[in-house]
């Protein structure tokens, strides 16, 4: 028996995982870089 699956549900789920995962990675790496560089500048007394 063949299941009637809506392909778009799976496509949207896969794109959501890929896009949200990538955006979260970019945001986290950028913000943690800015925070670390700010800590370094403070330690240098700038």
């Amino acid at each position: 028996m063949r299941e009637a699956l809506n392909h778009w549900d799976f496509v949207i789920a896969a794109y959501a995982v890929g896009v949200l995962g990538t955006l979260a990675l970019v945001a986290w790496s950028w913000l943690s870089m800015r925070a670390a560089e700010s800590r370094r500048d403070k330690a240098r007394g700038r």
Binding site: V11, A14, S29, S32, M33, A35, A36, E37, R40, A43
Partner: protein, 239 residues
Amino acid sequence: MHGFANPARFLRIARWLTPALLVAGLALTAGSLAWGLFAAPAERLQGDTVRIVFIHVPSAWLGMGGWTAIAVASLVELVWRHPLAAIAARATAVPGAVFAAICLASGSIWGRPAWGTWWVWDGRLTSMLVLLFLYLGYIALAQASDREGASSRIVAIFGLVGAVNIPIIHFSVLWWNSLHQPPSLTTGGSAMAAEFLIPLAVATLGFSFIFGGVVLARMRAILADVQAEARLRRRALED
């Protein structure tokens, strides 16, 4: 090559290259995914689920490419003791783990309509899962090594030994029976139609730029932490 291992020179280049890679990568990726979703045709056998290829394949290549980069950086650290090699290896671990996880999740989602199951314990899927665990182990080991002030050689050796898994992932679909299809793109040519191949190439380029931008951002963060700690220690000794 030794010239680029100088942290000051690296920072001069990374300051403009990091946002440039991220912006170009996000633009290329957004364009290629829109192309894959709305302009690429449905495939004759797989229907619309073929569109998952534009997420799944670049993330698989970057998951594997990330560990290859860790192995090369670990070798450079062990042999030539470049000051930035250990930082580069550590900076690659998190983006590599994220893309390996995206590859596994998108593959599992694709597997349900294509194979009728979310997961099978075959060579390709299992070796990719092992890669994700290797990334998590590497991240934990690197953090423990940095926290304890231990030698980073053991982390570099782990990075080199873990590279054994990369050819296993690549050849798993040829060595063992698998639900996973054999590679569509080889050095001998492509089994993929141009209407899928071109957006896939653009998506791969876009995700690769994002990966490069994230690695540079991580390297800058790790380097800044090291420099801040060194400055605070020096100040504590002076007081």
